[in-house]
Amino acid sequence: MLAHMTQIQPELAFATRGNTREIWGTPIFDGAAARRGYPLNKMCYSFNDAANREAFRRDEDAYCRKFGLDDAQRAAVRQRDVLALIDAGGNIYYLAKLAGIFGFNVQDIGAQQTGRSVEEFRAMLRAAGD
């Protein structure tokens, strides 16, 4: 298993305290991301309503434009690219509503982000229990 996936012992945390450090492969949804992703997340929030989900399905790009998504955000939606959606400011809880329209569950999303097959991703989750 790669070093960054290794389970970390609790005692280590105190050596590295502080609330700003980067953590590999781990997006922090902070003010910068919240500003960047506002239109994208606002669109995803609208998907709580079934009629809006239907409107998105009818014409995805028109729906994205209605919420003011920029080129990078619209491309990420078109490509169903979760990492790109996150880079473009998407918050995972809001993106989950978009992913639901595409029929992706959280294992599908995890597999895509980690470059694994869904079965490999599930096996990795199971292995965490050993």
Partner: protein, 280 residues
């Protein structure tokens, strides 16, 4: 006076609600998870709670990023569930207790906690799934509820230290209520999981087990972590531990572990279940 009879730490992930809706609780995947709830349900039945204070986070049903309160307290006589967008069935409304809510709001404000008060509040899976787990077949919800929603969505999040203190103030507030309510406090979410990023799927069993051990008699050990520590140790969604810390703080110093269970994986999560009873 009102009395806190105990607290329960539990996962609230939506896959649990889906499994219940699809009658999959006895499937090999789910059975070890749901079996662990049977003694907890029996305990709940035996202590006959009248009120459940539910500490959870909203995942984009009631709150959007236009306004993101650190601590939001329900102050309504009823809370509705609604469509979250990806197929979890909507459950019947939950009765509230507006008078007790306002007492808690007054007490917590007097203890220097600034709150958002919500006379209308939709409750999402973070609140609903734990209720469903404790009362899966009840024809009507047998308790009145007080939702307390914590921001674990948009950083900065409340610190673990502040959350433990919030819980302590909440406990004092509940026990100062001049009624005969029997209250349980639910700390929901966690334990380690990460849905987003290249490290998605990260679960840290040793850290989860450490948290479940320390939270009983040394919760201040967990309150020392920064949010960033919790993200590193328990994944991007791991800071939901702060909701367990609020629950734990509310119980006071004298607690007894009645049940505990840890199971990996449930969906993408290391799932903890902990029942702590307060000393009579």
């Amino acid at each position: 006076m009102a009395r806190i009879v105990g607290g329960i730490g539990t996962s609230h992930i939506p896959a649990i609600g889906l499994a219940m809706a699809r009658n999959q609780c006895d499937d090999p995947y789910w059975r070890p998870f749901f079996e662990a709830y049977k003694p907890v349900r029996a305990w709940v039945e035996s202590v006959r709670p009248t009120v459940a204070v539910v500490i959870y986070n909203d995942h984009g049903l009631n709150f959007f990023l236009d306004k993101m309160p650190a601590f939001a307290v329900g102050a309504a006589s009823e809370y509705r569930n609604a469509d979250e967008g990806w197929g979890l069935p909507t459950l019947r409304p939950f009765p509230g207790d507006a008078a007790l809510s306002w007492h808690l709001i007054e007490s917590l404000s007097a203890a220097d906690f600034d709150l958002t008060t919500c006379q209308e509040m939709l409750v999402d899976h973070g609140f609903v799934v734990p209720m469903q787990l404790l009362w899966p077949n009840a024809p009507a919800w047998p308790v009145r509820t007080i939702p307390i929603c914590v921001n674990t969505v948009q950083h900065p999040l409340p610190t673990p230290r502040r959350c433990l203190k919030f819980g302590e103030a909440l406990g004092r507030a509940i026990e100062a209520w001049p009624g005969d309510e029997r209250v349980i406090v639910l700390g929901t979410g966690g334990l380690s999981h990460q849905l987003d990023g290249r490290r998605a799927g990260f679960i840290n069993k040793p850290f989860d087990l450490y948290c479940m051990e320390k939270i009983e008699h040394e919760p201040e050990m967990l309150a020392r972590y920064s949010i960033r520590d919790l993200v590193e140790l328990a994944g991007t969604q791991g800071p939901e531990l702060i909701q367990w810390l609020i629950m734990r703080g509310a119980l006071g110093t004298a607690v007894r572990r009645v049940e505990s269970n840890y199971h990996v994986p449930i969906s993408n999560t290391g799932s903890g279940l902990l029942l702590l009873e307060t000393a009579a």
